[in-house]
Amino acid sequence: MNNQPFIQVSEVTKRYPRAENPAVNGVSLSLHPGETLALLGPNGAGKTTTVKMVAGLVLPTSGTIHVMGHDMVLARAKGVRHIGAVLEGARNLYWRLSALENLRYFGNLRLVPRRELFHRIEELLALFGLEAHKHQEVRQFSRGMQQKLAIAAALLHDPKILLLDEPTLGLDVQAAKQLEATIAQLTQEQEKAILLTSHMMPLAEKLADRIFVIHKGRKVASDATRSLLERYNTHQDIAEIQVAGQMTQVLIAQLQQAFGGITAIPNANTTMLRWPGSEQTQLIQLLQFLDEQDQAILDIGRRQASLEEVFLSLTGMEQPNE
């Protein structure tokens, strides 16, 4: 990959007026040509603020942001030419306008030459499968179609960089998968550099070359996706034990006291015990304990942690009940 990053964020801090803590605290990151970087973090971690600072919509309190070598505070107009963005709001587009009118408007606003714009609109409508709906008002679109159109609008001026803030938020599984395929296509065929934020770990795991985990405004981890998974897999193998019946709260409390880090996930007729990072001897002790408590063990297994579990472990958050 080219050494000159498209985006260079250096020691950036953002403190909103009257906020107790900084939204972003000393973050540095870079995005290289053809690369997809996933910015992961729980709600309020500082992902959206980071993306908006890169887009020049929010000014950093300190630090610098360069897009294609242009300082986004001093030369925002030059940097923003290279950016296409789909921000978190569900309504990036004018709902009362047709898809075609939206694309025409945003194309003109991004200074796409008139002759090129017509061709580009047709091309993007075809790419996103929206040709048949181009005269339809956006408010009549499904959420998935709206999101596709928002991405099409972001690509009108053929930017080198695409910022996608929670692109699959609010989409059903099928629409999310379609969008995932479209984003993959953009990186593979059009060699866009993509900075995406998401709560959907499988999306990040599939699409991102690198992962940047942010929590409470600070960097928690940053590495190539594979390296990050491998690194944490070595420490974070998860033992899973399925026990018959629903465990009592008293027993769960005893288990958690005796075996730190264990979580009990109640299902319909069983209870799943998950224990990340447990050693073989510890596991035997756990099995003995369960046997003493007359718990019928249905299944025992060990598996590698998913990105979601690595993320939860890094940010110190709890696994939600399934």
């Binding site: 909103y16 007026p17 603020t49 908006k52 887009a55 020049g56 919509l57 929010v58 000014l59 107009a77 030059k78 923003v80 030419r81 950016i83 296409g84 963005a85 921000l87 978190e88 709001g89 569900a90 309504r91 990036n92 587009l93 004018y94 709902w95 009362r96 306008l97 047709s98 009118e101 025409r104 408007y105 945003f106 003109n108 606003l109 991004r110 200074l111 008139r114 008002e137 609008a153």
Partner: protein, 267 residues
């Protein structure tokens, strides 16, 4: 710097967007037109019965004031309202993701809204002139006075639009100001007899002086020399310059502050 040749293209893009949006809400515009076509003649009848003789000249004076008020406040409400609405919907941030300066975009939007409102107000005005059977003709001085008044109001629009990026509640404040301005601009009943109060309002409220000067040119048929020598044109010109400058400065500062606060998107 942006190429000035791009301005017509951007203006047309904004106009097209505005017209499409207007068309989607055309019933609102038509009902507003219908409302005034009924309400204004009724108001004239009321004034007539109260004063015991509200003749064509007075009616024409009221109509001029009302049309200027309708045009100017309509422009202010539409521009500030759109900033608040778009910030909440998320389109404002998307609009700002362009190499074009936000000041240019917003100035074009004000021009577009003015163009649309001017068409609406002209239709309303012509209909009311026919209904009320008023003698109404345009002249050169009136056109210049109108232009300077619009420029002053556009300055206020720039300032309010900028403030709307920071304070989302500005929308409701503009609504109150709009209603109050019927009184303090003398839109319906001339305020010339209020002495010092009128003099103050003339300098501070951008529409008051304009409405008064328009009445002078269209009702009393005062020509260029009088407007020039009594200082009206100079005054309106200076007022337009001051309001436009203040509006521009407020908008630029407000945009910067909105970037600091992250309030361009409040969805």
């Amino acid at each position: 710097m942006m190429n000035a040749l791009l301005l017509p293209k951007l203006f047309l893009a904004e106009l097209r967007r505005d017209v499409c949006h207007w068309w989607s809400y055309r019933l609102n515009a038509l009902s507003s037109l219908g409302l005034w076509l009924v309400a204004f003649p009724f108001m004239m009848l009321t004034f007539d019965s109260m004063s015991g003789g509200y003749g064509p000249e007075q009616r024409l004076a009221s109509l001029i004031g009302f049309l200027v008020w309708e045009l100017c406040t309509g422009m202010l409400v539409a521009t500030t309202g759109s900033v608040t609405e778009e910030a909440q919907q998320g389109t404002l941030e998307n609009v700002m993701l362009t190499p074009v300066s936000p000041l240019v975009i917003f100035s074009l939007r004000i021009t577009v809204v003015f163009t649309r409102k001017a068409v609406e107000t002209t239709i309303l005005g012509l209909a009311l002139v026919i209904i009320l059977n008023l003698p109404f003709t345009w002249n050169g001085p009136a056109l210049l006075v109108m232009g300077l008044t619009i420029a002053s109001v556009a300055g206020v629009g720039l300032a309010l639009g900028g403030l709307a990026m920071i304070y989302k509640s500005i929308d409701s404040i503009v609504g109150v100001i709009t209603l109050l301005s019927v009184l303090f601009t003398g839109a319906l009943i001339p305020l010339n007899n209020l002495g010092i109060v009128f003099a103050l309002l003339k300098y501070l409220a951008p529409m008051t002086w304009g409405i008064d000067a328009l009445r002078a040119t269209l009702v009393s048929e005062i020509g260029w020399p009088s407007l020039w020598f009594d200082g009206t044109l100079w005054g309106l010109g200076i007022q337009a310059f001051v309001f436009l400058s203040l509006g521009t400065a407020t908008f630029i500062r407000s945009f910067r502050r909105a970037q600091m606060q992250g309030s361009l998107g409040t969805y």
